[in-house]
Subunit: 212 residues, 2 copies
């Protein structure tokens, strides 16, 4: 059975899984779950993920959810190295990944941002400031962490890992919301190296949206 | 060298790591980083974790940060089973863990809650409502996920895993903020089973604070 990814072009958790599937060279079909139309809250999708989040991935006879759990699963079952072999190095890659996946992404979830607007009675400017604030804060922390002496083409060494898979979609969001990250030079360099890889380029929201 | 945990009694990420160290039967020393006194933003702590978060753990000649990265590291280097062996089961445990660690905890971080108060111009009631809303929402999702046919004494089978290590500190927070979770019967049952284990009981904030 060909794996099926239930995703939304602009969702950064979906974007992560698209990159991972591409890096793993796994052929997959895509079913779009349109968040703007509320399709994620319809029964068809809730049966895949009771939380209503995208992505969900049908693979190996199961439906998996949570992008990082999917990436760890692929790392354990496919010939990829989304995490290095040594435990201390794996810890470094997970720490970098979590700075984005735990400390930026959930706070900037669209439903949380909408809640901020509702609670403040504010308009779009409130949302934009919220996004810019937390994206900037988190990516600055990420850059600091990168700077702990382990150089390389990517976040950890010379091959992409889970950290790069988390970073690139977050940078798409940074650009979308206009977060000020021009000074984060190491991140910028890594992003350029990722963009040169077809696995990353093919997963880009604009490519997916144009193809959709 | 005896490992050193830099923690704060009420921090739920610290609480997670205390449980994990206890379950792994690792002897460790504790240095308190008092968040109320701002000690996490002093150079001594920033040198351990540039993000200023607790916990940090000195172990095996390195300083590790991010509670879930620490738990995965212990699972990889010590004779514990914070994750089951089979990849699909590991994915289930990670998914449950992330529902708490990614979708409740960061949104209810004290600095985010303080920001909500500042942006709304609201008082303590605003903070309490924020906490109750997101804790309830996340734990209800967790309960739904638990209900997918895999019973047992704990979240996954009859031994505690990373999911239980994430759940128990979140329940402490649920009680602290008065979140309405009385109907989540499976969670309640698991929490009672965890509380009977000394590894969980000894990590409880009240025990740590009293000993401190």
């Amino acid at each position: 059975m060909t794996p099926v990814l239930y995703d939304y072009w602009r969702s950064s958790a979906s974007y992560r899984v698209r990159i991972a599937l591409n890096l793993a060279e796994i052929e997959y079909d895509t079913t779009s779950v349109d968040l703007l139309k509320g399709e994620h809250l319809e029964n068809a999708h809730l049966s895949r993920n009771p939380q209503g989040f995208v992505p969900a991935l049908d693979i190996d006879g199961q439906t998996l959810t949570q992008s990082l759990a999917i990436i760890e699963y692929l790392n354990e079952t496919r010939p990829v190295t989304f995490l290095p072999d040594a435990a201390l190095e794996r810890s470094r890659v997970r720490t970098l990944s979590y700075i984005i996946a735990m400390e930026i992404h959930p706070i900037c979830n669209s439903s949380v941002a909408a809640d901020i607007m509702a609670r403040t009675g504010g308009d779009e400017a409130v949302r934009v400031d919220w996004m810019k604030t937390y994206i900037r804060k988190g990516l600055a922390a990420f850059e600091k962490r990168l700077g702990d002496g382990q150089g390389g083409t990517f976040c950890h060494g010379d091959a992409p890992t889970m950290a790069d898979i988390c970073l690139v979609p977050q940078l798409y969001n940074a650009e979308r919301w206009g977060a000020d990250i021009a000074d984060l030079s190491r991140i910028k360099e890594i992003a350029e190296n990722c963009a040169r890889l077809e696995a990353f380029a093919a997963a880009h929201p604009d490519r997916v949206n144009a193809a959709g």
